[in-house]
Symmetry: C2
Subunit: 324 residues, 2 copies
């Protein structure tokens, strides 16, 4: 069956097996994929003898809006947020699986475009979409599971940071939050920040590089820098102090903030969804390429501070139900 991209053919008309064919045919699997879609399970290489695995669920209207993002962008985002978790463990991503729950009257083209976006991001990370499921639901829900390989290194958890460690980040901060405000005000530009909200571009290779450099703790910045450093601080029983001089907003962010009457520094410190990586490294380590020093690990009693002071910016991140 040729892939149907008509806007008028629905998921129900295409049917489960037709959809699976349309979603899986003509895809080129990378070497990690030993057996791709089409059977009860896929088979993925795990050369390390251990496998890192993580799962995320994204819901239309909660995690994405199809009036703000095209399906390709939502697909990219769904894969990116999950692969960022793999990278944040210090692992090289090896594969993703996807589950779709969707209404029967959804145009089938939305699913194929979502899948196209997933493959775009998967290929960026060097992995394949190796399997999945498509079922009926009133709400469009996308679940993603990613696998990764540690190449013989220990996993980099949130709990290994020690006082005196250097705190560093790799990747953008504040861009997705800026894009969210732009979209919320009804604008569609500047496209740089808007696209940062539509799909993050996590620096996947920076995760294994940090692990190889001896990172003591790592996390991807999904909730916001201070919130996610807070997760490291809690798990490691340490404090963390970041310096705003090392976290100056990009000129583009400052322009957007000025236009909207917003605080660009706050976006950098508390904005989520950029999926940068944040990590602690031993004091004298040479940071891998792309990583920049932003602070230092302190003792637990100091908590998470900004320039030595408790942060006064209000909420320190996003939590389901509680703050939304």
């Amino acid at each position: 069956m040729p892939r149907d991209t008509s806007e008028t053919t629905t998921v129900a008309q295409t049917g489960e097996f037709g959809l699976i064919r349309a979603l899986t045919q003509d895809r080129v699997q990378p070497p990690f994929t030993l057996l791709g879609p089409g059977d009860d399970g896929a088979l993925v290489a795990a050369p390390d003898g251990r496998v890192v695995v993580s799962t995320d669920v994204l819901v239309q209207g909660v995690h994405f809006r199809l009036d703000w993002s095209g399906p390709e962008q939502v697909g990219r985002k769904a894969v990116a947020v999950n692969l960022a978790d793999i990278a944040a463990m210090g692992a090289l991503p090896t594969s993703v699986l996807v589950g779709f729950a969707c209404p029967g009257d959804l145009p089938a083209s939305v699913l194929t475009r979502l899948t196209d976006g997933m493959w775009t991001e998967a290929e960026r990370a060097g992995v394949g979409v190796v399997g999945g499921d498509v079922v009926r639901s009133e709400t469009l829900v996308v679940s993603i599971t990613a696998l990764g390989d540690l190449n013989g290194l220990p996993p980099v958890t949130r709990s290994g940071a020690r006082p005196g460690d250097v705190v560093a980040v790799c990747g953008r901060l504040g861009w997705a939050a800026a894009g969210l405000m732009v979209l919320g005000r009804g604008f569609r530009s500047p496209v740089g920040v808007v696209n940062a909200q539509r799909y993050p571009e996590p620096p996947y290779a920076a995760g294994p590089a940090a692990a190889a450099a001896g990172a003591t703790a790592m996390i991807d910045v999904s909730d916001g820098l201070l919130a996610d450093l807070g997760h490291i601080a809690t798990a490691s029983e340490v404090g963390i102090d970041v310096r705003t001089e090392a976290l100056q907003p990009d000129q583009r962010l400052q322009e957007v903030a000025a236009a909207l009457g917003a605080d660009a520094q706050r976006w950098v410190l508390t904005g989520g969804e950029d999926h940068a990586l944040a990590a602690a490294f031993p004091p004298n380590v040479e940071l891998p390429a792309g990583w920049r020093r932003i602070g230092v690990v302190t003792r637990a009693e100091f908590g998470v501070t900004v320039d030595g002071q408790p942060h006064s910016g209000g909420d320190a991140g996003w939590e389901h139900w509680k703050t939304s």
Copy 2:
């Protein structure tokens, strides 16, 4: 935080991080789990150097009804259907991950009871729930991903059956379909068939045993025996003939069918959701314990037949959207 089992505390009141604590604390992970929940990813043993992986999505009102099944039973089912896919590849299950999307006004106890059921089934299979996600959605959706290990054997796909092979099954057939009709008529007993609908009991160990015995093709019976043998026949480019004399309904099924005016033989041939395993074996193989011969692999032009005849029982299984 103590696990909250109050019927009156909602998911929204408990909050995302409180929920994750309640869902993960006090769980005992098996040896496969090298790093459990609480970080960006989990770490699972993959001694074979390859990992079998499969994902399923279950939606309230489509795959389960909380007025027909308790949350524990839904949790058992969600894990069982996914682990059955791992077993059907010939692999030993090693771990599961779970994603919940649920309304904020859902009682938090529903999630903890779902999780209790997942752990019940996971422990039955010797695996742990190693990670997950909890997000907000209007519809309750449960996504499950399972991993497994092939212990050095080739994966048993759907495509290796050859004419002359023996066709065999392990596990119950028709019970879930009988239970579905009982529940649909408003009854809650007999409990044997009703519980078979609420949660399958796949014979996990029979999958690796079949692989070790040289099974040429295998599938788990989710859509119905004839439909799933049809998947093997299509993938292997063969025909399959099953013999009703080897597929006689259990006495209990016959009693239920008589009471409801239904056809027990039809339940056995076309009823889904029991997640028995069906496989083809070389002609002279000694079948592993629990497996019983039900037919033979023929040539493709004969298709899937019952006692040498095309089956006249109507639809041969369940497909999303198309037939529902």
